[in-house]
Amino acid sequence: MAKIIAGVATSHIPAVGAALDLGKTEEPYWQPVFKGYEKAKEWFKETKPDAIILIYNDHASAFSLEMIPTFAIGCADQFAPADEGWGPRPVPVVHGYPELAWHIAQSTILDEFDMTIINKMDVDHGLTVPLSLMFGQPTEWPCKVIPLAVNVVQYPPPTGNRCYNLGKAIQRAVESFESNERIVIMGTGGMSHQLQGPRAGFINSAFDKAFLDGLTQDPDALAKISHLTYVQEAGSEGIELVMWLIMRGALNQDLKEVHRHYHVPASNTAVGHIILENV
């Protein structure tokens, strides 16, 4: 049976992708952002997972207003980087894992999650920036990636509780997949930030730190945070943190926090990153 061995969360800021792609990582502004990801790079080299389940949100790239899925799992062989208005990022095509992706789709649907199955999709910075942070600039990504997109653009997004429970269903699905593979689940987006209107630039470090603490200490409490609280306390785009709850739900009760990184700012956003290993 396959196993989820760890969860990794990180912000997925487009400007971070641009800084990487344009070779600015050593600039004083960016240096402290990227320094916090050195550990993750080493950790992935040692851990060598067979695949990553990458929870992210599409930012009006693959999904327009014509059709807005709440949860969409990518079952295709590959996913090309999206053109978000300045040409696609110069990163490798993402190779999927159709066998496991379909297995998770089937298992979660029978578990009464109403998934949308996707067989053709481009992936935007929400998915590719976390890969760049974990793996730098390789010519191929080192492992298969299953994209799982969560609607946080059109209100209402799924509740935190629903996300947390989807994570649990994903863990059950992976553990019923016949293989000995070791899987990492990633939750992306956040932490506190607001990109819109006169309140843009909103940051709440206290909220973010409590959220990072809660991942190990009391995830059930995190799952109860309302949409309103996210927007009030973490900014309108802080709502993306519900995606971290899917990652958390897919992990064991007992975890070891291996690494944590928090820095303000990257562009408009508080950068948060954590590595949690199942014990």
Binding site: A15, A60, E84, G85, Q154, Q196, P198, G201, F202, A270
Partner: protein
């Protein structure tokens, strides 16, 4: 949905992209998303008015795009993730768009962020220096 959405309305400087906004901004957002194709970006840059006329948006939405008035576009149903494609077409960063929406010079906005961002006790809009 009244109860759910009412509370969000008390958050200053923030528009929730709910059903009302989504219906209002449908064509505005679909226009913005069309800029994901290079040929469309070129057509838009070559003649903004002609390109905008392909999309059945309202005259005020049309004008707000021409004016690059992002706050106005948001009020008229635009969603920032869609509108970001207009910014990208103009070669503007997300931080540039954010500074425009706050009414702050870009350097001031950038400095506010470097100093920890707009913390929960700070007022919205331009920050006093």
């Amino acid at each position: 949905m009244e109860n759910y959405y009412d509370a969000f309305k008390k958050i200053p400087g923030t528009v929730i992209f709910d059903a009302t906004q989504s219906r209002l901004g449908y064509h505005l957002n679909m226009f913005a998303m069309s800029l994901m194709k290079n040929e469309n970006r070129q057509a838009f840059k070559a003649d903004e008015v002609a390109y905008l006329n392909r999309f059945p948006m309202s005259p005020v939405q049309h004008q707000a795009v021409l004016d690059r008035d992002y706050n106005k576009m948001i009020g008229l149903g635009g969603n920032i993730y869609f509108l970001a494609k207009i910014g990208a077409t103009d070669g503007h960063s997300f931080q540039k768009l954010a500074s425009l929406m706050t009414g702050m010079p870009e350097d001031d906005y950038r400095n506010m962020m470097i100093q920890g961002g707009r913390n929960p006790t700070m007022p919205i809009g331009p920050v006093e220096k």
